[in-house]
Amino acid sequence: MAEVFLEARDITVRFGGLTAVDAVSATFHAGELVGIIGPNGAGKTTFFNAISGVIAPTSGQLVAGGRSLAGRPPHHYAAAGVARTFQTPRVFADMTVAANIDFGLKFAGRKRAGAWHLRDEQSILELIGLAQLAGRPAAAITPSQQRVLEIGMALATRPRMLLLDEVAAGLTEAEVHDMAQLITRMRDELDLTVVWIEHAVSTLLRYVERVIVLHQGRKIADGTPQEVVRNAEVIEAYLGDEMEEAAA
C-alpha cells in the first residue's frame, strides 16, 4: 500500500448535546479514491468539515502530510495540501471564472510546484473543461458548471488531497458520468488522494475503490464496495429491518 497521507484518529464533533461525529478514525493513502456514504444526518459533511479545518473537532487527532492539524485554522490545511469543495458551490460570484481559479494559485498554491496539469490558470481551466467560459462572471454560469469550477478552485491550491462534498448531487446522468471521469482522471494523472461524499450510493459505488460508511455519527464499515454492500449493519442502516422481515 502507498504511504498514508492523512490520518484521522478518534475524531469527535459535538454541537451542544448532539454528537454529530463520534470517535471516527480513518486512514487515507496517497493516490487513493475513497467514498464516504451514509444516510441523511449520518455526519458525513460534519466529518468532512472536521478533516478540512472548517470546524475544529471537539477531540481527536489529525495528521496530514506529517503535520498535526487538529484545531488549526483552514489555511493551515490548505498549506498542508488538503483542498475541498462545498455542497452548494461557493464560487466568488463577482469575479470571472478565470479569477476564481487564480485565487487558489495566488494563495495556497503559490509556494508549491504543481503537476503539469496544474501549472497555470489556463491548464486548470482546460483540465476541468471551462476554458471557453474563462472571461464570464462566475455568477453567470450554470450551477453544474459552478460545481466544476469549485473543483478547479480547489485544484488551484495544488493539493495532494481533494475532498469532494456531493459534487454529483442534482446532476443529470450524463453530467454525473462526466464528473466521475474528471474525478478518476484527477486521481490518475495528478496522483491525488480523492475522498468523495455522495448521498446517491449507487453512483458512488461504481467508481470508488474503498467505501467508508457512517451511520449516526459512527463508522460502521470500511472496505471495498463489494464487501460493504453485503455488510448486515450497512443494509440495516439503509433499509431498516424490513429487509430481514421480507426474507423471513
Binding site: V54, R90, A154
Partner: protein, 325 residues
C-alpha cells in the same frame, strides 16, 4: 479591470486631481480653501475606510476613535516632536489601537462588528476623559505650537492622495485580492489558503493609521481640543456615509462623494439651515434605494433606466385611471 491601461488612467486622474487641489489655495478664497481642506480630510478618511471596510464588508464605525487618538497624539507631543514625527506617531498609535481592537472584534461580522467598534470608540473617549480629569487635571488641551495653514493643507492633501494611491495599488496586489476574497466568502478564502485573521488585522490597522494621521494633522486647526470634539462619533458616521454614497467598493466613489457631500453640506447649511440635516438624510435614503452601488456606479444607462422606469410607471398609472373612469 486590472489591466495596465486602467492603472495608467487611474494614476493620471489622481495626478490631475492632486494638481488641481494643489493650485486651489492660490486662486480660491479663504472659505473655499477651508472647505477644500474638509473635503480632503474626508477623501483620506473615506478612501482608507473603503480600502478595508469596502472590500471586506466589515462595517467599522471606529474612525472617530482613530481620529481622536491621532488628535491627542499631536496635542500631547507636538511641542517635543516635529510636525512629521507627531503625525507618524499618531498613525502608529492608531494602528496599535486597531490591532488590539481587531483581536477582540474581528471574528464578528455584520451588525455585531459595527456596534462593537462604535462601543469601543465610546470606551476610548471616556477613558481619555477620565485620564485627563484624574491625572492631567484638565478637560481639554490647547495647542500652542501650530504650523502654517499651508503646511496643514499640504499634509492633508498628501494623506488624501496617499489613501487613493494605496487603493489603486492594493487592487492589484495579493493583499487586495485577499481582502476581496474575505468580503465575498471568508471561509472559502480560508480554505484556499488565506490567513484571514492576519489579513483582516493588517487591513484594519492600515485604515486606522490613516485615521490617526488625519486626526493628528487636523487637530491643530482647532487650537483647542477636548474628547467630545475629536472623538465625535459624527466623524465616523460621516466617513461611512460618504463611502456608501460614493460606492464603498469602488476606487473613485469615496473621492467623488467626499467632494459632492462637502459642497452640498456647506451650501445647504448656508442657504437652508433649517432643512440642512433633513435633506442630507433624504439624500442618503434615495442613494441606498436607487443607487446601491454608489455615485461611482452612475452610468448613462442608469439615467435611461430611471427614465424608462418612470415612463412605465406613468403608463400604468394612466391605465388604472382609465379603468376606474
Amino acid at each position: 479591470m486590472n489591466s495596465r491601461p486602467t492603472l495608467v488612467r487611474d494614476l493620471l486622474v489622481l495626478l490631475a486631481f492632486a494638481g488641481w487641489a494643489l493650485a486651489l489655495p492660490h486662486y480660491g478664497s479663504e472659505f473655499m480653501v477651508s472647505m477644500a481642506l474638509t473635503c480632503l480630510m474626508y477623501v483620506a478618511l473615506s478612501s482608507s475606510w473603503g480600502l478595508f471596510c469596502g472590500s471586506t464588508r466589515y462595517m467599522s464605525l471606529a474612525t472617530s476613535a482613530f481620529f481622536g487618538v491621532g488628535a491627542y497624539t499631536s496635542a500631547v507631543f507636538l511641542g517635543q516632536l516635529s510636525w512629521v514625527e507627531s503625525i507618524a506617531l499618531g498613525a502608529a498609535l492608531s494602528a496599535v489601537v486597531a490591532v488590539l481592537m481587531g483581536l477582540a472584534v474581528l471574528h464578528l461580522r455584520g451588525t455585531y462588528f459595527a456596534v462593537l467598534t462604535f462601543g469601543m470608540t465610546e470606551l476610548i473617549m471616556y477613558a481619555v476623559i477620565y485620564f485627563e480629569k484624574r491625572y492631567s487635571g484638565t478637560v481639554g488641551r490647547v495647542l500652542t505650537v501650530v504650523p502654517e495653514n499651508d503646511v496643514i493643507y499640504l499634509t492633508v492633501l498628501l494623506l488624501a492622495m496617499l489613501a487613493v494611491l494605496l487603493s489603486i495599488l492594493l487592487r492589484r496586489s495579493r493583499f487586495g485580492l485577499a481582502l476581496m476574497g474575505i468580503g465575498a466568502d471568508e471561509q472559502r478564502a480560508q480554505t484556499l489558503g488565506v490567513n484571514t485573521r492576519l489579513i483582516k488585522t493588517a487591513g484594519f490597522a492600515l485604515t486606522a493609521a490613516f485615521g490617526g494621521a488625519v486626526g493628528a494633522a487636523m487637530a491643530v486647526r482647532w487650537t483647542y481640543i477636548d474628547p467630545h470634539t475629536v472623538f465625535n462619533p459624527f466623524i465616523g458616521f460621516q466617513t461611512v456615509l460618504i463611502a456608501l454614497i460614493g460606492g464603498a467598493v469602488t476606487l473613485w466613489g469615496p473621492l467623488i462623494a467626499a467632494i459632492v457631500f462637502s459642497v452640498l453640506a456647506e451650501t445647504l447649511r448656508l442657504q437652508f439651515p433649517q432643512i440642512y440635516m433633513m435633506s442630507l438624510g433624504l439624500l442618503l435614503i434615495l442613494c441606498v434605494l436607487y443607487l446601491p452601488g454608489g455615485l461611482a456606479s452612475l452610468r448613462g444607462s442608469t439615467f435611461t433606466g430611471w427614465w424608462q422606469d418612470s415612463r412605465q410607471w406613468w403608463r400604468q398609472l394612466g391605465r388604472k385611471e382609465h379603468k376606474n373612469g
